[in-house]
Amino acid sequence: MLEAIGLTKNYGEVRALRSLDLQVKSGEIYCLLGANGAGKTTALNIFLGFVLATSGIARIDNINVSQDPIATRKRIAYIPETVTLYGALSGLENLDYFSKLSGIKHSAESLRRVLAQAGLAVEAYDRPLQGYSKGMRQKVGIAIAIARDAKVLLLDEPTSGLDPKASNEFSQLILAMAERGSAILMATHDLFRARETGSRIGIMRDGSLRKEFVAGEIGHRDLENEYLETMQEG
């Protein structure tokens, strides 16, 4: 579903990504851990087609991203760290708009079902987004991903700033989407959430993937130790 082969990105002298090899299959949740500047967001931007790789290949559903970024974007759903959307439009209207942008038209009823699926309170559907909390906006972001029925989901620090309850609700939604067959790549600092949600975990540092684990085979404490050890490596 989602593949990086020898993906490299240089910004002048700065090597943001060094030969990243990564594969996320359908139904998998791959959590990318790493400090700020490790290359997580750069990797996401390359998959999104916002940045051209210096070398290497990024593929979504076997389509080379650099050759056809529009086609690959149509197969991706993306949730950024801060879901801002359009404050003057309601949650329902935002969902409708982004669905149409992807070329998918839903009925009003169908859109409401998606919002319910995403866990948004009914009374908020028709309220302008500028009055939503961060968690509520996140839910609209997830609803957009659900509505698009995308096979690949890219998440950039999705639980940043969320309270534990909202964070937990978010994890449940992601797991449900993975069960439906989506390949999910999530960049995060949240070690706990990565262990709880992910199928596989990768730790990045200085643009390269240093370690990889199967989430079920490593405990929380061990994961933390591995992470700190990686960060302290020379």
Binding site: G87, L129, Q130, G131, Y132, S133, K134, G135, R137, G161
Partner: protein, 475 residues
Amino acid sequence: MRSADILLSELTLLRREQIVPWVLVGLLLATIFAGFSGRMIIDEQRAGALGARDEARVLIDSLKQQAAAGSETACSPGAVAYSVLSMPVSKTATPLEGLAIGQGDLLPDTYRLSARGAHTFLGQTDPENSLRLVSGNFDVAFLVVWVLPLLVIGCLFDVVIGERERGVLSLALLAGVSAGRFIWHKWWTRFLLLAAVTTVSIVLAAWIQDPAWTATTAYVLAGWILTSIIYLALWCALALVVSTGAGSSEAAATRLAGAWLVFVILFPAVTNLIAGTVMPPPSRVELTATLREASEQADKAIAAERDRWFFDHPDLQGDMNRRAYYLSVARSEAGIEKIMAPLLEEFAQNARDQQRVIEIMKYLSPGTLTFRSLTSLSGSDGRQHAHFRDAVVAYHRDWREFFVTRLETDAPLTVEDYDRLPTFVAPQIDGRQLILSLSVPLLLMLALTCLLCLLGSRKLRSTHLIVGTYSPGRG
């Protein structure tokens, strides 16, 4: 942190924000260009006035010599008054009038009058490019009234909100500096910088005018600087208040741009509209038709045997006696003037009425107030011209009387008469009086500035300043 440290840091910041130094340099250069442009316009006018005066002097000297030699034309008061001599009269040059052209390019600074009716010279205008008149002048007054507020907005719109958005304000508080002190230092740095550049620019532009450095010039220059600095301070104070109350720097910029649009563009234009609607000027078209009718009737009444065309072809008058001819001309002109004078006075009265309306309404807009003050200082607001016009009309009466008396008593013009020709004395400008007349508007603007500063100070003490207003989306 000491005040000097804050000021120094602010200056460094402003220097690094390359746009601010460039803007200030731009203002200086633009003012210099405006000064030169204004100077050239005024020089052209003065050269024309001087040339006309010199020419008239030469003609008078020549007529004097011819009179001494016994020339019939030179000794004929009628011929000299109505056919030969037209006397140019110019208004007093105002020091620094090139800084604010105002009405100066519309209203004539010189009238060429003869013994004929006042209607023959009061409507004189120079042929002009009307597109240029519509566009307005790029003079120093334009830069002060229109452009300076925009520079203030550019430099100060985010003086408070920008610091909050960048997170600097909370850091400054943690360092032990009060928000008020922190912001006021920033404000004062920017205001003083702008004020310094404005003052230097105005002084340079004034020096470019090459005025005679008299007490009046000093008063006028002082008035210019004072008015401009107070206007600048008002906009700076407004920027502070808006920046303190706005939710974002964009909102602050938008509101200030809106304020500029309202106070500098719309209010003055609406004031003009109201002045023209409440006090509509009399119709020039009807004046023309009335003049035509009056001329025709006067001719018919006074000289039933004489066709008007003799007036332009005195050589064809045939047997008609020259004195009798000019007597009939004088009576004809008197008859026309009797009808036209009240109509012309209606125009003058309307101009005075419009000025009164503007004098009242100018207080609604700092832009109008400042423009009126600056054009008043430069003598281009129409009021000084009105005094000049009234003096010309009075002089015209004396001029005509001089010749008509001699014509009626059949007294030929002598060499001594040429030495005794009435002299025009243009109304003088009292610089001190000018400044005093501006005291009320300037004090009002200053008071408003202080009020805004007080309001700004109060807002700076509010806790909302740091955290902003509640927004659920910020979680």
